[in-house]
């Protein structure tokens, strides 16, 4: 299919395609990071993860409405306020959910799946009742739309750059949290032996609640970012959930590095395949490959060596 085009064309398309792959990578990673904490570190199967993302998207929508009405002069920077708000709102709801629901289920991981699925249905209906069943259009300031022209033929989407930057910041934050600050140690201690962790002075309830809250908050940030590239509707969250889980599982649930590697692999495969094949087939092939590899290597790409 590359016959008959000039080398310059092909070069710039490859550059843009590379960027498309990278931006898909950051999208996947942003989706997966929150879940990597909740599922990977805490072992909770949060089927409502997509709904937490959409919560972030709706927070962004409301922020944009507030700014257009009351602070039109500051509209250009509303997005940063929205991201912070999305993190806080989704995180707060996450902590509430942990308190009301999840903490009763730590011994039954598969049951968290059912309960959070129920939660996702309720959240969807809440969004529908509050914001209407239709998609809402989230306004963006002019500078965030459009493309930055690198050369005459290479154009890089600005929103892709923003998503990448956001992903980088969140990844660093999560890394510091899990591996550098004491927090990660406490989380792992609580997960491996709740009673013992409590006995050595860790406030296990506090650790659970805050960790779950942070995971949900990151989902909210992801949702906020996705208003730039996707749709915001009550059911949009469900679209992301399978991809997100596969990324986390494929990487090896407990390994953050694995999550990053698997987001990278899946996104590159997907983006390349979509370029050469029809979209549907590309998706099927990538999913099949991921499932196939998981069957051969059930613990994912990166495995923590643990004695069982």
């Amino acid at each position: 299919m590359l016959m008959g085009y000039s080398l310059g064309d092909i070069g710039s398309i490859m550059a843009m395609q590379g960027f498309a792959g990278l931006s898909l990578f950051s999208v996947f990673l942003l989706m997966a990071l929150g879940l990597a904490i909740i599922f990977g570190q805490m072992g909770v199967i949060n089927m409502a993860h997509g709904e937490f993302m959409i919560l972030g998207a709706y927070v962004t929508y409301m922020t944009s409405q507030v700014f257009t009405t009351y602070l039109p002069s500051l509209f250009a920077i509303y997005f940063f306020v929205a991201v912070v708000l999305a993190f806080c709102v989704a995180g707060a709801l996450g902590m509430l959910v942990e308190w009301a629901l999840i903490r009763h289920l730590y011994r039954r991981p598969l049951d968290t799946l059912l309960a959070t699925w129920g939660l996702s249905l309720i959240l969807q209906q809440v969004y529908r009742s509050v914001f209407g069943a239709r998609e809402v259009g989230v306004d963006q300031p002019e500078w965030m739309m459009g493309a930055a022209s690198m050369t005459d033929t290479i154009q890089i989407p600005i929103n892709g750059l923003i998503v990448m930057a956001l992903t980088a910041v969140i990844s660093v934050f999560v890394f510091l949290l899990i591996y550098w600050m004491g927090w990660g140690k406490r989380v792992r201690a609580v997960m491996s032996n709740r009673a013992m962790a409590g006995a050595v002075g860790i406030d296990t309830e506090f650790v659970d609640r805050v960790t779950f809250g942070i995971g949900c908050g990151i989902a909210g940030v992801a949702g906020s970012a996705f208003t730039m590239i996707g749709s915001t509707s009550p059911t949009a969250g469900q679209l992301y959930i399978v991809d997100t889980f596969l990324v986390v599982v494929f990487g090896g649930a407990q390994s953050l590095l694995g999550t990053i590697a698997s987001a990278f692999t899946i996104s590159q495969a997907r983006s390349t395949m979509e370029f050469f094949l029809s979209g549907s087939m590309a998706q099927v092939i990538v999913l099949l490959t991921v499932v196939g590899i998981l069957m051969l290597r059930p613990q994912g790409l990166f495995v923590l060596k643990v004695r069982r």
């Binding site: 999208v27 259009g137 989407p157 390349t272």
Partner: protein, 422 residues
């Protein structure tokens, strides 16, 4: 049961108040002796098959999804059908009978549609049913309507390849929506190369097939340079956008639906594709969809429909304010919403022509029915139970409306089984 109780997933508080008032309307009217044209003809003569027709009421069904994923799209149709019915009731009803509505929720689930259709026909004996939106839901209810001899008024533009005694298709079948638009873009823009895109299901695939045949066989020197399909709900279009940037088609022909639409146009804009320079023709984006996409993301694109809210004619000048009065100032009216509005009126006109509510007589009397008050102008029912209607091309503005820039001179004949396009 939800007789006259309007259950809409997305009603705002104000709407709900309007609704309550409106729900009381037919009920109150039913209590009065039939107004206006005295009492209609005797029930025994207009209803020989046991439909739910009394001396002063006639019961019809509305069957759309008001919950589930399709509720987004179907809400507008429900609103339009209710508007039409309340207007007909205010004007004296059908054959002197006020229309009572039983609304059922298809819940975006095809067996539920079949189930509810059967309930409307068998338990409620509805004289007509206005409803369905997706092809899948129509396919699911079709055997029910044929088996129990009901009448369905189906509002959505769809892929064709179907014709039934028991269905009146008030939207366009595929050729009506596609051919004139392609001719137009070829004639006025001199476009030669086309890139076909679609969501992966029957309507976009069939439509693109017809488009491809037309481009290759009927437009001289034109060719299709790419064709791609994406699963419903797909949100990542960067790769295909790059592919199109490489191929540089004159026209992007996009039939992407639902949430994917939003992602596609946002990413197209972000990739630096200026729709004022790159011609994009779509048959799947109505004013309803633009609400979610955002006017600034799609401004400059061309859409090929039979109706736009901005259409300038006397009927539409009455229709749009009436719709907004009933459903709120912020509501928008897309092509399908208007087509749904036609249903109750076409049924009323047919009943009056046939002088009967009997399904067989309505089916037989339908061809040739003219509706001069249609917001889109003028429509007529064809022998094949589709509508003769004009095809129009609109250009999207940043405020979410379309400027109508072209319309076919004559009504376009509906042809659900187009020869040479299959």
């Amino acid at each position: 049961m939800s007789d006259n109780e309007i259950n809409t997933a997305a009603v705002s508080a104000t709407r709900r108040r309007v609704l309550q008032g409106m729900a009381a309307l037919p009920a109150a009217a039913a209590m009065l002796p039939a107004r206006g044209n005295a009492a209609g003809p005797a029930t025994a003569t207009v209803n020989t098959t046991g439909l739910a027709v009394t001396d002063d009421t006639v019961t019809v069904g509305i069957l759309h999804s008001i919950s589930g994923t399709m509720a987004i799209s179907e809400t507008g149709s429900v609103e339009a059908e209710k508007l039409a019915i309340s207007q007909i009731n205010e004007a004296g009803g059908v054959l002197g009978r006020q229309i009572k509505v039983i609304q059922e929720d298809g819940a975006s689930d095809w067996p539920t549609f079949a189930e509810k259709a059967k309930k409307l026909l068998v338990s409620d004996k509805c004289a007509a049913v206005f409803g369905c939106w997706t092809s899948a839901s129509r396919k699911a209810v079709l055997p029910v309507f044929e088996q129990y001899n009901g009448m369905l008024y189906y509002p959505t533009f769809y892929e064709g390849l179907e014709q039934s005694k028991n269905v009146i298709y008030t939207g366009q079948e595929a050729t009506q929506q596609i051919l004139a638009g392609l001719d137009w873009v070829n004639r006025t823009k001199g476009s030669k190369t086309f890139y076909l895109l679609g969501s992966d299901y029957i309507w976009p695939r069939t439509s693109n097939k017809i488009a491809r045949k037309h481009i290759e066989n009927h437009l001289t020197g034109c060719k299709v340079v790419g064709e791609d399909y994406f699963p419903l709900g797909h949100t990542q279009f960067n790769s295909v956008i790059n592919k199109m940037k490489l191929v540089k088609p004159d026209v992007i022909y996009a039939i992407i639906v639902g949430g994917s639409n939003v992602a596609f146009y946002k990413q197209l804009k972000a990739a630096g594709v200026d729709l004022n320079k790159q011609t994009l023709l779509t048959i799947s984006v109505t004013e309803d969809e633009i609400l979610g996409i955002g006017g600034e993301n799609i401004a400059g694109a061309f859409a090929c429909m039979k109706y736009f809210q901005s259409l300038d004619n006397p009927n539409n000048k009455v229709f749009v304010p009436a719709f907004k009065k009933m459903w709120g100032e912020k509501s928008v009216i897309g092509d399908v919403t208007q087509a749904a509005y036609l249903g109750p009126y076409l049924w009323k006109l047919t009943v009056e022509k046939a002088g009967s509510f009997d399904i067989d007589k309505i089916a037989a009397a339908s061809p040739g029915i003219e509706f001069k008050g249609a917001p889109e102008g003028y429509v007529r029912i064809h022998e094949n139970h589709h509508l003769w209607s004009k095809t129009r091309v609109g250009k999207a503005r940043t405020d979410g409306q379309y400027d109508v820039i072209y319309e076919t001179g004559d009504l376009v004949e509906p042809n659900p089984f187009p020869k040479g396009y299959q």
